[in-house]
Amino acid sequence: MKTLVWLQAGSCGGCTMSVLERGLFDALRRMGLRLLWHPSLSLDEGGRVRALLDSIVAGETHLDILCVEGAALRGPGGTGRFDRFAGRAMLDWLRDLAPRAGACVAVGSCAAFGGLPAAAPSTDAVGLQYADDAPGGALGADYVSAGGLPVVNVSGCAPHPDWILETLQALAAGCLGPADLDVFARPRLFADHLAHHGCARNEFYEFKASAEAPYERGCLMESLGCKATQAVGDCAQRVWNGGGGCTRVGSTCIACTSPGFQNGKDFHHTPKIAGIPVGLPLDMPKAWFVALAALSKSATPARVKTNARSDRIETPPEPGKA
């Protein structure tokens, strides 16, 4: 069986919580992965953990996959002392362990790009191989794993459990190569989509029938800060926690899969210049957007217009009527 170690660096633990939904233990076993250690779930602690990690660093224990959850904290002054683990700076463990791993997986946006901790002025938090969108991070732009891959960035805050598990499954099966990663080394199995694709509010988006208050049913993009047309992820095509999804419930997309998402300010409001949203849908020319939006608005059915500004369906579709 292939081996896996999971570490938590500058983390909230939420990625582990996400993946637990799928019964992590059985899922890994079915992939042929043996979990050598996980901080929340394993029996061993203290000296035994240090001994395991030391033996991996020494090359005595083979490590196929290293999963890291949480940002690498480099401060203060490059010492990494804001995150101490097993007697050392976690930063030093990461730098010693990552070159030994067949593949290194950044689980969540913190480990991938720095995430929210990277917004702190004092900790010098970065991702494993990126600081926001700049290559580098804790391991450096030149890092490749023993299996020849850059750090695989399963971004998201928290990521969908199946983004994590399908990435591990692909690595376990030996079928995740450089071509399967996008420009920020995110697995294309979820990153080839935009969070907007399949949005349950799509009819409102098409007609630019927008919500003005967070509890209204209309499109969240024009006024309420939604970045789903700019953020990668098949978020709206998978179900979350049984049947959910951010925009389904009016939880506006803050582009949590994107490098630097934490640097956004005023998450609940769409910045505009001359009434036009600054962040337009990815690869859409501005003139087209303006023209199409004006056309759509002029053609919006009364039903859609009414429901967009309500917290519930005020006007249901009438069968047989256009």
């Binding site: 938590q8 983390s11 909230c12 633990g13 939420g14 919580m17 996400s18 637990l20 939904e21 019964g23 233990f25 059985d26 979990l35 250690w37 996980h38 901080p39 929340s40 779930l41 394993s42 029996l43 602690e45 203290g46 953990v49 940002a71 904290l73 203060p76 804001f82 995150d83 101490r84 683990f85 097993a86 995430g115 929210l116 917004a119 702190a120 004092s122 938090a125 928290a158 208050a213 967070p214 509890y215 979350w240 926690n241 049984g242 049947g243 959910g244 951010c246 389904r248 419930v249 009016g250 939880s251 803050i254 949590c256 934490q262 300010k265 005023d266 998450f267 609940h268 917290d311 519930r312």
Partner: protein, 482 residues
Amino acid sequence: MRITLGPINRVEGDVEVTLDIEAGVVRAARVAAPLYRGFEEILLGRPAEDALAIVPRICGICSVSQSLAAAAVLRAAREAPAAANGLAAANVAHAAENIADHLTHFYLFFMPDFARDSYRGRSWFVATQQRFAAGAGTHLSATLPARARLLNTQGIIAGKWPHSLAFRPGGVTRALDLSAKLQLATIFAEFREFAESALFAAPLEEVAGLGDAAALARFAEGPAATGDFAAFLRIADDLRLRDLGRGPGLLMAAGAYAGAQGPQFPAGVFESATGAAGPLRIETVTEDVACAWYGDSPLDPAQAETRPDMERPGAYSFAKAPRLAGRAAEVGALARQAVAGHPLIRDLLRRDGASSVESRVVARLLEIALLVPAAQAWIAALRVDAPFCAADVATRDGDFVAQVEAARGTLGHWARYRDGRIDRYQIIAPTTWNFSPRDGAGMPGPLECALQGIAVGDAAADHVAVQHTIRSFDPCMVCTAH
């Protein structure tokens, strides 16, 4: 002899514990939170509502609690009541998170310690190992799906878990329709079936109605003996866990689950040594950095600052030391139910004279039995024809505070807003209380207190009693120092 334990796993986040051991007994303990991410610094200068996006990300375990505290302190600054439906829906989501946390603690973090080799030879060892071994116990095939199904409440109310923007000062963003209400009812009905079979092997009302220690002992040997709760009770009795991990004496709760008639579990304090109950005076809360890696800061959380300083002499943790009227206070399910006056919990505290490893675990499971029916009532009372969120109004300037009860205890947010922006933000999390370092007067925090006097013999820090005591608090270290 001084020994440092760490990493200590099967807790949320990482914790280091240093023990001074003399003649086989722990004479002093120092508890360290070894991670600092800087969330209070991150919030400064941002628009007030940005806290709703940032604060839940302190903790992937207590995410809803953090969201609700951030929403509550904004609400305090807005002089506008929330929609009753919205508070009820938030209660349902909050209860689901808290129940899931209690469940995760019991099955994944706490019970696997009884499957350790050091217990080989105990009459219950083989059965316990089969049922609870870390990563392999037979419970996993039932508990993980039950937990995941319970968290489907978050899909319905919050969109996803952890980390959502659905919780607002005015309620929740989604107006639940009839279909959503029925789905919630089904989820809790299913969870009740799980809890009444595997966990308790008894109706929840029977568990909730346990009136004293004697009734609890009868429960463990009666028809419910096949349940996992009874299995724990028998182990606890055999190992005298009632004598282990004695807390500092002061228990505190801030009031849990808002309702028209006040919170479901009230706010207050309880003295475990004397049985005296009293009101919670939040204005007496202080936070001391004498032994924490921070620069000097005012004691009042409303005036305090967070500036990391790793050169501070005598500091050993990134957790500050919260105190209530100068005293260390223990928080969590035990404190909530003691303050609420639950007869079983009051009787266990009277019997033991202090909080203990056993009573902390009993209170958590008792709370599952209390919360499921409460959530079912909240769901039944949802009015799908009424609003779930009140309209936003402007955020006033000034100092505001709000406290909620997370699974692990009292979570407080102190905010100062100026011109709609965050001028100051201080958070005291449950495990900041429980795993507090010493304060300026040298007084230890609750876990430090609870570890003192444990007889560890030659096993020293490897003694499993130390592990039981640490984990009995269900620490959430990522919240602790944030």
